[in-house]
């Protein structure tokens, strides 16, 4: 803990201080509307602090690489949108606690992004989880809300135990809690018992499993639909963005950066989970009538795409530019978050305190009764479906393009091509239910005009999200470049220097000890640069997707 650390922590400190102030103030004051303003001010202050930081400073257990910066900005933006979305006071006690917990989750996400150490990362993850449990309970006051809080709590605790067990093996295999030392231990810089790599593998599986709960990947996703359905729009938006982002940060930090030499194992697992996840989410979503449940399945499916990007990042970590999986991952996550928050914010705005809009059917005829809200919702849905001029399209293009650019000379390429095909088919299925919402809004006869008393904050949030989606869609360059930058600074292992595939504990001949790590050797995994052929393949696939989805919708 040094002064440099403290300076790096200023944004988080601001947020936590604001949260504590709100917590304590809430006990004495009844000003229900002021808390959101304080939270917004804190977010603004944190943004200023983040802006004025010197990114080159080096903290001990705090990282400040570009990935951290990216996620911190992401967290602040998402936090602002969520605070705005949830700015309508609760109908009963608990408003200050609600707002404070919201700020704490944002601070937790920022800390997770910056953590360079297992201990801090664990505590930061819990700083997201525990306020989330409280938030889930606070949003509503009926049995459904209690049920969803209980489900999320119990399963979350289980996942957190699994994650911790993974951490324990990670620590055991390398003898350190700092990611830099873990990385050094595993890539052969530090002498380590070779069999211990198996512990690293155990650690990887358990950590991945624990994180799969956070990002809602099959088969750790089961809580998501029930919990989303049972809670408020604001909470659903929070759940679909903040824990997910945290999960993916940790995955990027640990799977990609901290455990080198595992890629031949890890990408297969991640790819399998990705394919299962997107398929499960999409086919289940076809059946849903409840809006939040539908979007829960949608968020599961989107997790599948993001995991696909992660697998690409693992299999072809040296891929250049935009086709790198990690870049695609962050770009996709940002576009997904904007569209999802926008959708939930629109729903929140359309309802009122006594009566939420829950069902997709509540949106019938919205195009006539509330054209502006319908337009915002349609933009979000189109973006989630990946319709071209919007942000979601670029996300999907990057993900599938990345998957197709994995070198096809090995088996990996074929697996990735197959996964991309499955992904495209999935996206076709997905378009069916996203466009169904649009169809309900524009082609059905309105039953009743939604009250639209959800508050100005929710509406502002919705409009901001729609603008973001359109803006990123029209001009995706800056966001892609930001993600690109974050990939360049992720610690990268030279492929020639890592010891290859230590199999499970009983190899007859230990590999010849390497006198010195050889840097600069040619990468063993070839990555074909994306060319016109890949782009064309991707576009053809998208075309198929559109056609198929049209069939699904209109038949």
């Amino acid at each position: 803990m040094t002064a440099a650390d403290l300076r790096l922590l200023v944004p988080e400190i601001v947020l936590i201080a604001a949260a504590v102030t709100i917590y304590l103030g809430g006990a004495f004051s009844t000003a229900r509307r002021a808390w959101s303003w304080i939270a917004a001010a804190a977010l603004l202050l944190a943004a200023v602090a983040l802006w004025s930081q010197n990114p080159s400073a080096d903290g001990g257990s705090l990282g400040c690489d570009a990935l951290a910066r990216y996620v911190q900005w992401f967290a602040l933006a998402a936090g602002a949108l969520l605070v705005s979305l949830a700015s309508r006071p609760l109908r009963f006690d608990g408003t200050p606690e609600y707002v404070g917990s919201l700020l704490l989750t944002v601070a937790g996400l920022m800390l997770v992004a910056a953590a360079e150490d297992i201990v801090l990362m664990f505590v930061a993850l819990e700083l997201i989880s525990i306020p989330t449990y409280v938030l889930l309970y606070l949003g509503r006051d009926d049995a459904e809300s209690q049920e969803s809080a209980a489900k999320y709590f119990f399963l979350g605790v289980l996942a957190s135990a699994i994650l911790l067990y993974g951490f324990s093996f990670l620590y055991g295999a390398t003898g350190s809690t700092a990611f830099s030392e873990i990385r050094a231990a595993l890539d052969g810089t530090t002498i380590l018992p070779p069999g211990f790599a198996v512990f690293a593998r155990l650690a990887m599986v358990l950590v991945f499993a624990g994180l799969c709960f956070k990002v809602a990947a099959v088969p750790f996703h089961f809580y998501a639909p029930d919990v989303y359905q049972g809670t408020t729009h604001a909470n659903a938006a929070l759940l679909s963005v903040v824990p997910k982002a945290a999960g993916f940060v940790v995955m990027a930090r640990i799977l990609v950066a901290a455990i080198p030499g595992m890629e031949p194992y890890s990408w297969g697992v991640v790819l399998a989970v990705a394919v299962l996840t997107m398929t499960f989410g999409n086919v289940m979503a076809l059946w849903q009538d409840d809006f939040r449940r539908l979007l829960a399945y949608s968020s599961i499916a989107q997790t599948g795409y993001i995991l696909l990007a992660l697998a690409v990042g693992l299999a072809a970590r040296d891929a250049p530019g935009a086709w790198n999986g990690i870049v695609a991952l962050w770009f996709y996550l940002a576009t997904y978050a904007a569209a999802t928050i926008g959708a939930f914010a629109t729903m929140e705005y359309l309802g009122r305190a006594e009566r939420r809009l829950d069902s997709v059917d509540d949106l019938a005829g919205l195009g006539r009764t509330r054209p502006a809200a319908a337009a915002v919702m349609a933009v979000c849905m189109f973006s989630l479906a990946g319709v071209p001029p919007l942000a979601g399209f670029w996300g999907k293009l990057l993900v599938f393009g990345g998957a197709l650019s994995v070198d096809t000379s090995g088996t990996a390429g074929w697996w990735f091509t197959a996964a991309a095909v499955v992904g495209v088919l999935n996206a076709a299925v997905a378009a069916a239910y996203y466009l169904r919402i649009v169809a309900v809004m524009y082609f059905r006869i309105p039953l009743a005009t939604p009250p639209a008393r959800g508050g100005r904050g929710a509406w502002m949030s919705a409009v901001a999200c729609a603008l973001l989606v359109v803006g990123i869609g029209i001009y995706p360059g800056p966001l892609m470049r930001a993600g690109n930058f974050c990939d360049q600074q992720l610690p990268r292992v030279d492929a020639g220097a890592k010891h290859h595939s230590p199999p499970f504990g009983r190899q007859k001949n230990p590999p010849p000890p390497q006198s010195a790590p050889q840097f600069g050797m040619a990468a063993t995994k070839k990555v074909s640069t994306p060319n016109a052929y890949h782009i064309r393949r991707t576009l053809v696939l998208s075309q198929t997707r559109v056609t198929t989805s049209c069939h699904i919708i209109f038949k």
Partner: protein, 149 residues
């Protein structure tokens, strides 16, 4: 066999056992409090592993993490207690299976397997108050030896 390696091995095995037993408890027991206790057992297993690893690596990192685990477990316990209390007040049951209202729309609700018949204790008839003006019924001998209420 180096004693330190032996120690590590044994501790890791005990840790795994605790983790696994806790897992079984979490999955199979339906009482929410027992479920939470099971998670704590799992965390005990993790703590043992971490402590052993810390000793093996001669490093305090493991022990530190255990401390944080305890702290976090305390937080979770606080939330869990509050949550379980409110849940109990709503359904008057600690059964987690009582909370499955949120599910796919067309799925049948969970049905408890009927408990096998326990040998029911013979219930003594309680005295009943007759309506006013009616002479109470008597049971003869039983009135005299009625057990105390």
């Amino acid at each position: 066999m180096h004693p330190e390696i032996a120690l590590l091995n044994d501790f890791l095995l005990v840790g795994a056992a605790l983790f696994g037993v806790g897992l079984i408890g979490f999955v199979s027991r339906r009482n929410m409090i027992v479920m939470f206790l099971s998670v704590e057992i799992m965390l005990q297993g993790v703590s043992l592993s971490l402590a052993a690893w810390g000793r093996f690596h001669n490093d305090f990192g493991g022990q530190t993490l255990v401390l944080f685990i305890i702290a976090v477990a305390a937080c979770e316990a606080a939330i869990a207690l509050a949550l379980i209390l409110t849940l109990f007040h709503r359904r008057c049951s600690l059964d987690i299976a009582a909370w499955h209202f949120l599910r796919e729309a067309n799925q049948p609700p969970f049905r408890d397997v009927p408990l096998p018949e326990e040998p029911a204790e013979r219930r003594e008839p309680w005295p009943r108050l007759p309506p006013a003006g009616v002479r109470p019924e008597t049971f003869g001998e039983k009135d005299k030896y009625r057990p105390r209420v």
